[in-house]
Amino acid sequence: MSEMRATPVVNWTAIFKDALIAALIAVGLFALLIGLKTDQTLNNQMVLVPRPGLFGTIVALVFFGRLFLGYLNAVRSSEVKKKKPSSALMIKVEKYGLPVLIGFLVVYPLVVLGTVGPQGALKWIDNFGVQILIYIMLGWGLNIVVGLAGLLDLGYVAFYAVGAYSYALFATSEPIKEFMAQLIGEGFWQAWAFWICLPVAGILAAFWGVLLGFPVLRLRGDYLAIVTLAFGEIIRLVLINWVEFSNGYAGISSIPRPSFFGVPFNATENGFAAKFGIEFSPIHRTIFLFYVILALALLTAAVSMRLRRLPVGRAWEALREDEIACRSLGINTVNTKLTAFAIGAMFGGFAGAFFAARQGFISPESFVFLESAQILAIVVLGGMGSLVGVVIASVLLVGGVEILRELDFLKMYFGDNFDPAQYRMLIFGICMVLMMLWKPRGLISTREPSVFLKEKKAVSSDLVKEGHG
């Protein structure tokens, strides 16, 4: 290979022109959409409020963004085929990334506690820690269905809902509580409900996974996507409309919070703080929740990594590649698909139970299609099948939205009504577009072979588009 490294030729006039055109388009597009805002005066008259600041900023962003892009492209195309981001690096990220990450996560709450103190730490551990970990777990669970088995599931949130409602309904059920009180003792159910219901929620979700699996066995690709999407909506609509069962829109409240294996997190003398001789603080429960979801997420990762090396995992991957070939090799494709749905759904159910326990309140609002879309986006963004990719994508998407909430200082610039969190869909969209441009196969797009002979040799998916010869 010859190393041709000419000095980058950058045609500034062309780039400038291009950026100007993009800015003009932005002007046309956003003049009415963003530049003007309808508002009501005190006597209910509608007035138009111009927003020149915001409008100007966005047009400027488009202009300079385009300028930058043009420059990048020029530089890139003049460097004759420099080494592609090597797949060896990808493999390294996938291999060493996870242990490093786990180590970081284990010490994370303590580090945060040490740096910002219990008051500030609550936000960092809950919003940035627990919230992101829930999505990581959901991403890893969905990855089994979408990434490994190649079954495009747009209704994953249904299993999350099944898990959440299973826990919520069992834990708040008076008959069960009374029965347990008679059988074992007062307060038992309150204290142990989470730990008993967690596996139950997983099993029920798995059961629903199989139930969804049966009718869609013969479907693939877009058809499968549509049916799973409908399934997710049906579950939500049932939860809304079957009021006697799920309490409809009002949702279920005062769901028992998880205990420290029987020891509740409260200020009483039987509480966690008193038992362990420390001062009571609500942060204890948050930290505990953090470790619970971390453990659940790691369980998901461990199981999916292990399964990939077992015959069933390899069958999933083969199924994703070619169903007919699979069948003629003696693989029972019905069972293979159903196990993928069931196991994926089970982890969704675990996450759902955890979610209900953490919130203490759930309603159908939490299980809208957008959630499914977000989880799927995390899997796709991360690079189908990559565990580390899911983590990065969750941090970007979920953490990104949380960061938006922090950008209060922008109000000084755009006015008091400006709520940065409203722009989360914009961020979402920008992420997606950028992905399609630069990494159409996900952040970590190298599939590491699950079995090796002697040495590893990865073939980056950037370099090879699959073909059938």
Binding site: P311, R314, A315, E317, A318, R320, E321, D322, I324, A325, C326, R327, S328, L329, G330, I331, N332, T333, R447, P449, S450, V451, F452, L453, E455, K456, K457, V459, S461, V464, E466, G467, H468, G469
Partner: protein, 245 residues
């Protein structure tokens, strides 16, 4: 084993297969005896692949029976048929493109739970040295010929008694075609594997075959030994036109 020495290993009787309302096989009779190489030739769209797939249970025959090793397999699901010792290299190879060659071969061995995996791996690597060099390569990046070798090797990994090959020479250079046919002869002679082969490459296929069938429009119109059909003027005119050496 329930094999009666005189009964054929595979016998297809009066099989009719439909795609919706369209009939593709109009009553096919075929026998494949233990240890034979049987070839079927026929024009495009004659129904050769359909017969291969019907033997494997997808699509299922609407009428007629398929018996293998004394068992009626007409209505058996495909994956169970695979467990009876029939392996197929389907038309168009159908390797798993994003999995490595090694993993593809592992998938081939799934019916016997990888029990003989390393032994068989060595065997197919000896047969196809090209694959041995490329065990860690993604199957999708192999050349067409290499993919065909992999498809055959993958079928061999299940230690089949009966090997079904649908157009193994499709799209291959003449020299590679010869290699593939040599391999088929070798596994047949050395391992006593029974082979049922569908081919467009009539000259080579008939030379290789113990017996052969000609299929036209969903019906068997001719049968005989490979030599007989090779010498037949009708076959010559229809399937052996032009240079064939």
């Amino acid at each position: 084993m329930s094999t009666d020495m005189t009964a054929p290993l595979l016998s297809v009787r009066g099989v009719k297969t439909y795609y919706g309302n369209i009939i593709a096989l109009k009553g096919v009779d075929i026998d494949v005896n233990q240890g034979e190489i049987v070839t079927m030739i026929g024009a495009n769209g004659a129904g050769k692949s359909t017969l291969m797939m019907t033997i494997f249970g997808k699509p299922q025959a609407r009428e007629g029976t398929i018996t293998y090793d004394g068992r009626d397999i007409t209505k058996m699901p495909t994956h169970e048929i695979a467990h009876l010792g029939i392996a197929q290299s389907p038309e168009g190879r159908r390797v798993f493109p994003r999995m490595s060659v090694f993993e593809n071969l592992q998938m081939g061995a799934s019916v016997n739970n990888l029990a003989y995996f390393s032994e068989d791996l060595e065997k197919v690597c000896a047969i196809f040295p090209r694959l041995k060099e490329r065990l860690q390569q993604r199957a999708g990046t192999l050349s067409g010929g290499e993919q065909q070798m992999l498809a055959i090797a993958r079928a061999l990994m299940s230690r089949p008694r009966l090997l079904l090959l649908d157009e193994p020479s499709l799209g291959l250079a003449p020299i590679v075609v010869r290699q593939i046919f040599d391999v088929i002869r070798e596994v047949n002679k050395k391992e006593g594997m029974t082979v049922f082969l569908v081919e467009q490459n009539a000259y080579h296929a008939l030379k290789l075959a113990d017996r052969a069938y000609v299929m036209v429009n969903g019906l068997i119109t001719m049968s005989g030994t490979g030599k007989q059909l090779l010498a037949d003027p009708q076959v010559k005119a229809a399937y052996l036109e032009g240079g064939h050496h």
